[in-house]
C-alpha cells in the first residue's frame, strides 16, 4: 500500500489546569452502554502552521487544552464499573487523571494528503488508538493526536533557526526548513462516552479557549432520564470488556460534492416531489441506491432497509444542549420494497427519507431511550453497519460546530474527517458539512474494500463531480 509516512514522536498526558473535586462520578446512560461497541475518531486538518509549537511542550495548544479540560472533568476521568450492589454498570470516575496526547509527524504536505490523487494516504495511520484493556483504570478513554504535517524539501538550504516561545526559551536547533506546513488535530474516544456532536463541541470549546473567546457550547452533564428505572442486577456475570476486534475489511472514502451541483439537484427534487428537500435527503437517497446496487441482489418481495442515525438533542423536550455529554442518538429504520427502489426515481427516494425524518416523534425517541436503559446489562452490539446505516447531522449547527473550530486567527479547518471504529460489513454513510459551505457536502462512506472500489467508479455518483479524497481503495477515473 503506502509507505508509512507517520512517525510517532511522543506520548504524554495533559491534565486540567484546575484540580477536580475528588469523588465525582458520572453514570453512563443506556444509550451510552449500547454504543460501547464502537469508537469515534474526528480529525481536523489545518493548513497554516504558524507558530503552533514552541519547544518544551509549553506550547499554546497545551495550555489552552489544560484550561478547557477544567470544565470537562469527565473527559479526564477513567472508566470503571460500578459496584455490584449499585448495578455494576459503566461509569466515569472523575479522578483528574488527564487525557493522553500523542504527537506525531507526517511526512507530506497537507495538500498532497487532501488531494484526489491520494491513494493509500490512509487516515487510519493518523489515528493512534489503543483498544480498551481489561483494566480500564489506567486507560485514557479520550485520546488527542496532534500531527504535525510537514515536508522536508532538500533543495532549500539548511537553516539553523532558533525559535522563541513567549517564555523566551531557546529550543533545540531546528535544522530543517519545512515547507507548506500544516496540522491535523485528532480526537478519538470510545463511543460509549461521546457522540459526534459532543466530540466536535469539545474541540470547538478548545479552539475558543485557545483564542480567548467565551465558550459557546459548555458541557452539560445531567442524565437524559432521572434514575427511576430500577435496574434489577443481573445475576449472570457482566462482560468486563467490550469485544472490539472486527475482521471485516472496511475502508473509507470521502466524497466532496460542490455546492453548485447539489443546488442543481436539489432544485430538481424541490420542483418535483418534495418541496423542502435538504441535501441530506438527496445524498442519502443517492448513496443508498448506489450502495444497494453493489450488494448481492435480493428477491423481489424483500425489503431494502436503511438505518438512519440522528442526534435527538433538539427533538426531546426539554431539549438537550449541544454540550450534552454522552450519546444522544436515535436509530430509526426505513424500509422500501425492492421493486419500489428499482422502479422509483431518486426524487421519490429523497421524498421518502425526508418524510421519515420529519415523522419521528418524541414518544418514539423516549421509548427507545427506555429500551436501551433496560438493556444496559447486555453486551453492546454493533449499531453501525449491521444494516446499512446513514448518519444525519443537523445542517446549520453541525457546520458551525465543525468548521468554525479555529485555532489561529480565523483560519477554518481545511477539512474535517470523521470515522467510526468497528463498523460492520453492511456499511456506513455519513453526510457531513463541507469546508466550502452553502450546499456543499462531504460524504464519508465506510464499506468493504471491493464494494467501495466499485462505488468510487460509479457513474451516477461521478456525474456529480465529486472530489474523492482519503480513499482507502483504488480510484480509477
Amino acid at each position: 500500500m503506502s509507505e508509512n509516512k507517520v512517525t510517532l514522536e511522543s506520548k504524554l498526558t495533559v491534565v486540567s489546569s484546575r484540580p477536580v473535586k475528588s469523588g465525582k462520578t458520572h453514570k453512563l446512560s443506556g444509550v451510552d452502554h449500547a454504543m460501547g461497541y464502537h469508537t469515534l475518531h474526528l480529525i481536523f486538518y489545518y493548513k497554516n502552521e504558524e507558530k503552533w509549537f514552541g519547544s518544551f511542550e509549553l506550547d499554546p495548544l497545551r495550555e489552552s487544552l489544560s484550561e478547557v479540560l477544567s470544565i470537562y472533568p469527565t473527559v479526564t476521568g477513567r472508566l470503571a464499573r460500578e459496584k455490584e450492589e449499585d448495578g455494576g454498570d459503566w461509569e466515569v470516575r472523575c479522578n483528574d487523571a488527564g487525557v493522553r496526547v500523542i504527537k506525531a509527524n507526517v511526512d507530506c504536505t497537507i495538500d498532497e494528503w487532501l488531494s484526489s490523487s491520494a491513494f493509500g494516504f490512509d487516515e487510519t495511520q493518523l489515528i493512534a488508538w489503543d483498544d480498551m484493556p481489561h483494566d480500564t483504570s489506567t486507560w485514557s478513554p479520550f485520546r488527542i493526536q496532534i500531527l504535525q504535517i510537514y515536508h522536508f524539501n532538500s533543495t532549500i538550504p539548511l537553516d539553523n533557526s532558533v525559535v522563541f516561545t513567549h517564555h523566551r526559551i531557546r529550543t533545540n536547533q531546528i535544522n530543517k526548513q519545512f515547507q507548506e506546513g500544516g496540522l491535523a488535530i485528532g480526537l478519538s474516544c470510545s463511543h460509549m462516552l461521546s457522540d459526534l456532536t459532543f466530540a466536535s463541541s469539545f474541540l470547538k470549546s478548545w479552539s475558543q479557549t485557545h483564542r480567548h473567546y467565551p465558550i459557546s457550547h459548555p458541557p452539560f452533564f445531567n442524565p437524559i432520564t432521572p434514575n427511576n428505572i430500577n435496574n434489577v442486577p443481573n445475576s449472570s456475570s457482566k462482560p468486563q470488556t467490550i469485544i472490539t476486534s472486527s475482521t471485516n475489511n472496511i475502508v473509507t472514502a470521502t466524497f466532496k460534492f460542490p455546492s453548485s451541483i447539489i443546488k442543481q439537484c436539489l432544485s430538481k427534487i424541490q420542483n418535483t416531489t418534495c418541496s423542502n428537500a435538504t441535501p441530506f435527503d438527496f445524498l442519502s437517497a443517492l448513496f443508498w441506491t448506489r450502495v444497494t446496487h453493489l450488494k448481492p441482489s435480493k428477491v423481489h418481495n424483500q425489503n431494502h432497509s436503511l438505518s438512519i442515525c440522528r442526534d435527538f438533542r433538539k427533538l426531546v423536550k426539554p431539549s438537550l444542549p449541544i454540550g450534552y455529554f454522552g450519546n444522544a442518538l436515535h436509530f430509526s429504520n426505513l424500509s422500501i420494497k425492492v421493486q419500489d427502489m428499482e422502479n422509483g426515481q431518486l426524487e421519490d427516494m429523497a421524498n421518502l427519507i425526508h418524510k421519515h425524518l420529519k415523522e419521528v416523534t418524541e414518544e418514539e425517541i423516549r421509548s427507545s431511550i427506555e429500551s436501551f436503559e433496560t438493556r444496559k446489562e447486555s453486551t453492546p452490539k454493533c449499531m453501525y453497519g449491521s444494516e446499512l446505516t446513514c448518519v444525519y447531522m443537523e445542517e446549520e449547527e453541525s457546520a458551525s460546530l465543525l468548521y468554525e473550530s479555529m485555532f489561529s486567527n480565523s483560519e477554518k479547518p481545511a477539512h474535517v474527517s470523521c470515522r467510526i471504529g468497528n463498523v460492520d460489513s453492511e456499511g456506513l454513510i455519513m453526510v457531513m458539512p463541507s469546508s466550502e459551505g452553502g450546499f456543499a457536502r462531504t460524504v464519508i462512506v465506510m464499506l468493504q474494500e471491493e464494494e467501495l472500489g466499485k462505488l468510487c467508479n460509479d457513474q451516477e455518483i461521478l456525474k456529480l463531480e465529486p472530489t474523492i479524497i482519503l480513499a482507502g481503495c483504488l480510484v480509477q477515473h
Binding site: 491534565v15 509549553l58 489544560s66 483528574d96 487523571a97 483504570s137 517564555h167 533545540n172
Partner: protein, 496 residues
C-alpha cells in the same frame, strides 16, 4: 523529647509566675537602671541648680582634658562602628510559580507509575502508599519532560527546565526590586543535582548580560540546605565588599534525576520532589535599609558528616540495573533529630532571651552537680521567634520538628501548606513558606523568623531574619491566586 517541667505546669497560677519570671529576667537591666535614674534625678532636684553649677566648676577642666576625653570618645566610637559587621538586608525575593500545564494530580502520577513499572506491582504499591501519606496536594508540578510516557530526561530538557525556573524567578525579582542586571555584584546559584558546563551561574550571566567583574559562584551537590549555605556565603562576601548587591538563586532541577528504576528506597524522592525555585536579593547598602523586607541576624551551620551513618543516610548510587537514584535510609529521621539538636545548641545562646538561657543554665548545673536524673530543659524557642520556616522535606520532617520544638499547629502551618501546594521544592521551599506567611498578612515589623533546612551530608542549617517593615497584603507571588483557600486540612491518608 518529653515535656520538661514537672506536671504542675497545668496550673494557671504557674503561668503567671512564668510570665513574671520571664519579664523580670529579660528586662533586668531596665529594671535596675530605672530606680537608679530615679534616685539620681531626685538627688539632683534636691541639690538645686546653684549647687549643680558649683559642682561643675569645681571639676577644673582645662582645654587639654576636654580635648583628650572627646578624642577618646570619638576614637572608641570609630573603632566600634568600623569593626561592627555590616548589616545584611534582604531587599526582596521572588519565587517561581510553575505553569498549570505541569500540574501532576495523584491519579496521573499513579497512572504513569503503573504504566511504566507494569512489571513491578510491589514498587507501584509502595509509591501509592508514600503518596497517600505524603502531605502533598493535587497542584504540585513536575517539569514537562516527566509528563511523557516514558519520561524523556534529556540534557536539553534539563537546561530548558533550569532556564524556565531560574529566568522566571529572576525576571520577577527584577520587577519587584527595580534592580538592574548590571548592578549585581555577587551572584550565587545553588542547584544540587544538575551541574552542566558552563555552570548555571554562567547561564544566568549570559542571559542577563551581567558585568564582567561579577563575583559568581555555583554551588552544587550540597542538598536541600544549600539555600542557606548560599545565604551564608553571600553574607561573608558582603562583609568584604562594601556597597554591593548580591543575588542568590536557589533551585532544584528535577528532569535529569527522575529515577527510572524500581528500587523502592530510590523511588521515594520521585514521589516528593517537585519543581520550584527562588531568587533573593541581598544588599549591604544603607540606602536599601528603608525598603528591605528583612535583616539577616544569624546563620548557624551544623555538619554531621563526620559520623558515618549521617554521611550515608542520603546517598546517590546505582541500583542493581545500573540506574542512578538517591537512596534514603530508614534512620533519616533519627539523624535529622540529632543534627537539629546540635544546631539548636549553637543557636540557643544567640537568640534565646535571658530568661530561657538562665533556666537552661540552672538545669544544666543542677544536672551536673545535684542530680543527673533531672530532665534536660528544652528551651522554648517560641519566645525567641514569631515565625518558623521548616524545610518542607516531607511530612515526617515537619512532624518531627513540631514535636521536638513543641511548636503549635499555627507555627508549622506555613511548612505544611507549602508541602501541600508545591511539594518538596528542595532548597527553595523556605522561601515559599516565608511567602505564605507574608501572604497571610502575619509578618509585622520586628518579627523574627527562623528558617531551618536539612540536607544530605548530613547538614542542618539555620538562618534568623528580623522583619524590617510590616508587609501588607495582598502581595504578588506564587500564593497570590490560592492563599484564600489555605490553610486546608490535610488528612493522614488520602484515599487514592
Amino acid at each position: 523529647m518529653p515535656p520538661i517541667l514537672p506536671d504542675f505546669s497545668s496550673s494557671v497560677k504557674l503561668k503567671y509566675v512564668k510570665l513574671g519570671y520571664q519579664y523580670l529576667v529579660n528586662h533586668i537591666i531596665t529594671l535596675t537602671l530605672i530606680p537608679i535614674m530615679i534616685g539620681v534625678t531626685i538627688e539632683l532636684i534636691r541639690l538645686g541648680p546653684n549647687e549643680i553649677l558649683n559642682l561643675w566648676n569645681s571639676l577644673n577642666l582645662n582645654l587639654v582634658q576636654i580635648l583628650c576625653s572627646s578624642f577618646l570618645v570619638i576614637f572608641i566610637a570609630t573603632v566600634y562602628f568600623m569593626s561592627k559587621p555590616r548589616t545584611i538586608y534582604l531587599v526582596d525575593y521572588a519565587c517561581f510559580k510553575p505553569p498549570v500545564t505541569c500540574r501532576v494530580p495523584f491519579a496521573t502520577f499513579m497512572e504513569h507509575s503503573r504504566l511504566i513499572l507494569k512489571d513491578n506491582p510491589k514498587s507501584v504499591e509502595f509509591q501509592m502508599r508514600i503518596l497517600e501519606r505524603s502531605g502533598l496536594g493535587e497542584e504540585t508540578c513536575l517539569p514537562p519532560s516527566i509528563h511523557y510516557i516514558p519520561p524523556k530526561p534529556t540534557m536539553e530538557s534539563a537546561r530548558g527546565e533550569a532556564e524556565l525556573v531560574i529566568f522566571s524567578a529572576m525576571d520577577s525579582l527584577f520587577e519587584k526590586t527595580g534592580l538592574k542586571p548590571k548592578d549585581i555584584d555577587i551572584l550565587i546559584v545553588n542547584c544540587s543535582l544538575f551541574s552542566p558546563t558552563p555552570s548555571l551561574s554562567a547561564m544566568v550571566i549570559n542571559k542577563y548580560k551581567l558585568r564582567s567583574n561579577i563575583k559568581s559562584f555555583n554551588l552544587s551537590g550540597m542538598g536541600c540546605s544549600a539555600g542557606l549555605i548560599s545565604i551564608d556565603l553571600a553574607r561573608d562576601l558582603l562583609q568584604v565588599h562594601p556597597n554591593s548587591n548580591a543575588v542568590v538563586v536557589s533551585t532544584e532541577i528535577i528532569t535529569p534525576n527522575y529515577y527510572q528504576g524500581k528500587e523502592r528506597a530510590m523511588l521515594l524522592p520521585n514521589c516528593l520532589f517537585r519543581m520550584g525555585g527562588a531568587a533573593i536579593m541581598l544588599s549591604n547598602r544603607t540606602t536599601e535599609k528603608r525598603r528591605s523586607k528583612y535583616r539577616l541576624v544569624h546563620v548557624v551551620r551544623t555538619h554531621k558528616g563526620g559520623d558515618d551513618k549521617a554521611y550515608k543516610c542520603v546517598y546517590e548510587e546505582e541500583d542493581r540495573e545500573g540506574k542512578v537514584g538517591i537512596s534514603l535510609q530508614k534512620d533519616l529521621m533519627a539523624i535529622a533529630g540529632e543534627a537539629l539538636k546540635s544546631n539548636i545548641t549553637t543557636m540557643g545562646p544567640l537568640v534565646l532571651p535571658a530568661s530561657e538561657q538562665l533556666l537552661f543554665l540552672i538545669t544544666l548545673i543542677g544536672r551536673k552537680i545535684f542530680n543527673p536524673k533531672w530532665k534536660p530543659y528544652i528551651p522554648d524557642f517560641k519566645q525567641a521567634f514569631e515565625h518558623f520556616c521548616i524545610h518542607a522535606g516531607g511530612r515526617a520532617v515537619i512532624d518531627e520538628l513540631q514535636k521536638n520544638l513543641q511548636l503549635s499547629t499555627e507555627h508549622v502551618e506555613a511548612s505544611r501548606m507549602t508541602l501541600h501546594r508545591f511539594g518538596n521544592t528542595s532548597s527553595s521551599s523556605l522561601w515559599y513558606e516565608l511567602n505564605y506567611i507574608e501572604s497571610k498578612g502575619r509578618m509585622k515589623k520586628g518579627d523574627r523568623v527562623w528558617q531551618i533546612a536539612f540536607g544530605s551530608g548530613f547538614k542542618c542549617n539555620s538562618a534568623v531574619w528580623k522583619c524590617n517593615r510590616s508587609i501588607k497584603t495582598p502581595i504578588d507571588g506564587p500564593w497570590a491566586d490560592c492563599i484564600d483557600r489555605y490553610p486546608v486540612h490535610i488528612p493522614e491518608i488520602v484515599k487514592l
